[in-house]
């Protein structure tokens, strides 16, 4: 017989866990006590705030494809994880959050640090379960991992009552890989495969939208083969970035509000639109009433509730893209579509002269975000893991950082969580220790979870932090500039000396203001062994272009020359 706490750890180990991001407290002390005996098998990374533990677990999951694990105490420990859980839910990230809970006889009594974790997290989890008896642990943990990692992945919460932690149990691992009420891999309808292939074969101008589902389903190669066989150009959603290498010839760039001009325009010019593992978010579609009305739409997704949710679909291909894509590919004609593919070129050229060139290769004025990002990308051989925060830094980074391999972008898409980046970068580095991790952030977002510099210090994590400092909540300022007559309400920031802050944490740091210092500073950062904070003082009132204003037609694209 072992304690419930030990059973929990054994169950985690049996699920293949070797890393936990967490923070202890009263109702989790027995678990932490057991952890002391399992230090050699389970690496515990002590964050500085529980929100950081969830984002770190997300970053870990996103780069490694494994389930990220968070361990926290009850009450405020649990409520601090909410933002990360919500973020994982909307971005389909597999994490398991284990929260201590007051002993079950005290449940419902407003006991010290009791909070209704299940009630709070039900809307933002795939599954939330309260463990009240030690006998439930083996089942609940295995079920949690099964649910989090299968089908459309997502967060699971286990609310672990203290009496179950200290109670004794005869632990035996039992893998859960079947739940009667849960079908993670829906059956594939062969007629839908045929319909999809027929539409594509008959198409003159097919266009493909590549979403994160391709990465989550490990269908990158299947995706490429599909595109190549029929010579179909593609655009990636923000979360779909790195499913295709940046220089893959059929990869025409990013979709969405700050995406590339070609993919957005061609959405409304193609005759068949093939969406793979993406959910037609409003930041991708703009005004739905005018979105791709001319096109027949094929939607491949593993989540039945996504198909037809925002955009009416002509051919619904429910299933795992790793299976459905090659099934369709096998029915596709080998085609070359040079003219259609060439139609993206003028758009790319226009975007280059109106936006990209100025952003990436400026010769005068203050530093631009884009040039910093481009240079860091190049200095890391265009093969680093990109982590971003939220705002202008994020949109610039996803636009200009380049990728060679999959799972190279970690960003908060659906929730747009400022403060996500620093802890996510920690998780990314732990999840992919052999890769360089470059984290771009703004002065606002960095300060939302700044305390995680302590985690970086303690764990000696080699994360390259690039602060694109504009002394503004830049993205909000941009909206105020463009749509609110430059009334900069509450967006100016008086900032601390970030280099001094980094130094206080023992993190190497340097600030650059001048263009002629930039390359050297980046070189110093990249060659430095260990974490580094590069503070790039960028132009204060820079603007992310192109931009499709919220709710506008996807082809309404501002490029700063209006």
């Amino acid at each position: 017989m072992i304690t419930g706490s030990e059973a929990l750890l054994r169950a985690l180990i049996d699920e293949g866990v070797d890393t936990i991001f967490g923070y202890p407290g009263g109702q989790a002390i027995p678990i932490y006590d057991s952890l002391y005996d399992y230090r050699d098998k389970l690496r515990h990374i002590l964050v500085r705030h529980e929100q950081g533990a969830t984002h770190a677990a997300q970053g870990y999951a996103r780069v490694s494809g494994k389930v990220g694990v968070t361990l926290v105490t009850s009450g405020p420990g649990a409520t601090n994880t909410i933002t990360g859980i919500a973020d994982a839910m909307i971005d389909s990230t597999p994490i398991v959050v284990i929260a201590g809970q007051v002993p079950s006889p005290l449940l419902g009594t407003d006991a010290f640090q009791e909070i209704d974790v299940i009630g709070i997290t039900q809307p933002i989890t795939k599954w939330a379960y309260q463990i009240r008896k030690p006998e439930e642990i083996a089942w609940a943990v295995s079920r949690a991992f099964y649910i989090a990692s299968t089908g459309r992945p997502g967060p699971v919460v286990l609310d672990f009552a203290k009496d179950a932690q200290v109670g004794m149990v005869d632990y035996q691992y039992k893998k859960v890989d079947y739940i009667r009420s849960y079908q993670p891999e829906p059956d594939i309808k062969p007629e839908r495969i045929r319909d999809a292939a027929a539409l594509i074969n008959a198409a003159q101008k097919p266009f493909c939208l590549v979403g994160q589902g391709v990465i989550l389903g490990e269908a990158e190669e299947e995706m490429k083969a599909f595109l190549q066989k029929n010579d179909i150009p593609a655009g990636c959603t923000t979360l779909g970035l790195s499913a295709l290498p940046s220089d893959f010839p059929l990869n025409k760039g990013m979709l969405g509000m700050h995406g590339n001009v070609g993919p957005n325009r061609k959405t409304n010019e193609c005759d068949v639109l093939i969406a793979v593992g993406m959910r037609f978010d409003d930041r991708v579609t703009g005004d739905l009433a005018t979105y791709a009305k001319q096109a027949k739409i094929i939607h491949l997704d593993i989540d039945n509730s996504e198909i037809g949710k925002n955009v009416p679909v002509d051919v619904k291909v429910l299933g795992d893209a790793k299976q459905t894509l090659p099934m369709i590919t096998s029915l596709l004609e080998k085609r070359k579509r040079p003219e259609w593919n060439a139609e993206f070129d003028p758009d790319a050229a226009e975007e280059y002269t109106k936006v990209i060139e100025k952003e990436l290769y400026p010769t005068s004025g203050y530093l631009k975000m884009g040039e910093v990002i481009r240079q860091v990308s190049e200095a890391t051989d265009n093969d680093a893991v990109l982590v971003t925060d939220v705002g202008q830094n994020q949109m610039m980074a996803v636009r200009y950082f380049k990728h060679k391999q999959t799972r190279s972008v970690v960003t908060s898409g659906g929730l747009g969580t400022m403060g996500f980046g620093l802890p996510a970068a920690i998780g990314a580095k732990v999840g992919a220790p052999e890769r360089t991790v470059c984290f771009f952030t703004g002065d606002g977002g960095l300060q939302m979870t700044l305390q995680e510099l302590g985690t970086i210090m303690q764990e000696k994590l080699d994360v390259k932090i690039i602060l694109l400092n504009n002394n503004f909540l830049g993205m909000v300022r941009q909206w105020q500039e463009l749509f609110f007559h430059k009334r900069y309400s509450a967006t100016e920031m008086e900032n601390p000396d970030f280099v001094q802050i980094a130094k206080a944490y023992g993190i190497a740091s340097r600030e650059v203001q001048r263009r002629d210092e930039l390359a050297d500073a980046i070189r110093e950062m990249v060659s430095h062994k260990g974490p580094y904070l590069l503070v790039a003082d960028v132009e204060e009132e820079g603007t992310v272009y192109p931009m499709t204003p919220a709710g506008a037609t996807v082809t309404t694209i501002l490029m700063g020359d209006e």
Binding site: I118, D177, N304
Partner: protein, 195 residues
């Protein structure tokens, strides 16, 4: 409050089969709440199959909305099957109880006639009160309520949520369970499986 245009909205009956686990009602209702759909009636009970619960929920919605809501419900891990129907596809009933003053009830004189007309029955009668029971569709139980209210007055009135059975020959739950069974069978090549 705004008049939620009843023109495109219809009354739908959502039928949900779930595992018998704690907290499922909450999971279901938040899906309605998030889309500002009002639940008109709700009834929950064990189904004919051991361990499986059945929820019957009615709500006014347009088809597009109800379709999305049902898919969201169906997606929840512990939900076995969710689907929606309109009245044409269903046999359905509600049950209503009416508490009346015994004195006024007797004085009314037309008691037998009333009971026959509405196909109601007397469940309880004592010195102070009479309890009538009537099952039927909403309009029918409501009609009796109206008539009683206008004549002798109703001391207490309660109507249950709708219970419904589909007319169709397809038994979605048993078909789905059979399908799951078949799948499980196919997968049972030595792997230990428990759920």
């Amino acid at each position: 409050m705004e008049d939620r245009s009843m023109t495109t909205k219809k009354l739908y009956t959502v039928i949900i089969f779930s595992e018998n686990t704690v907290g499922l009602l909450n999971q279901i209702t938040i899906i309605f709440t998030r889309r500002q759909l009002n639940i008109e009636t709700l009834s929950v009970s064990p189904s004919a199959l051991p361990g499986i619960h059945k929820f019957t929920i009615t709500t006014f919605a347009d088809e597009d909305m109800i379709d999305k809501v049902v898919k969201q419900i169906d997606k929840r891990v512990d939900i076995l099957k969710a689907y929606y129907n309109t009245d044409e596809d269903l046999v359905f009933q509600e049950i209503a109880l009416y508490k009346l003053s015994t004195e006024l009830f007797i004085k009314m004189g037309t008691v037998e006639e009333l009971i026959r007309k509405y196909n109601a029955r007397i469940l309880e009668m004592n010195e102070t009160c009479v309890v009538l029971e009537k099952s039927g569709h909403y309009e029918e139980t409501q009609a009796l309520f109206r008539e009683l209210s206008e004549t002798i007055g109703v001391l207490q009135f309660i109507r249950s949520g709708r219970v419904a059975i589909t007319k169709s020959r397809v038994e979605r739950l048993s078909d789905m369970l059979a399908e799951m069974e078949r799948k499980l069978e196919r997968r049972r090549n030595g792997n230990p499986i428990n759920g």
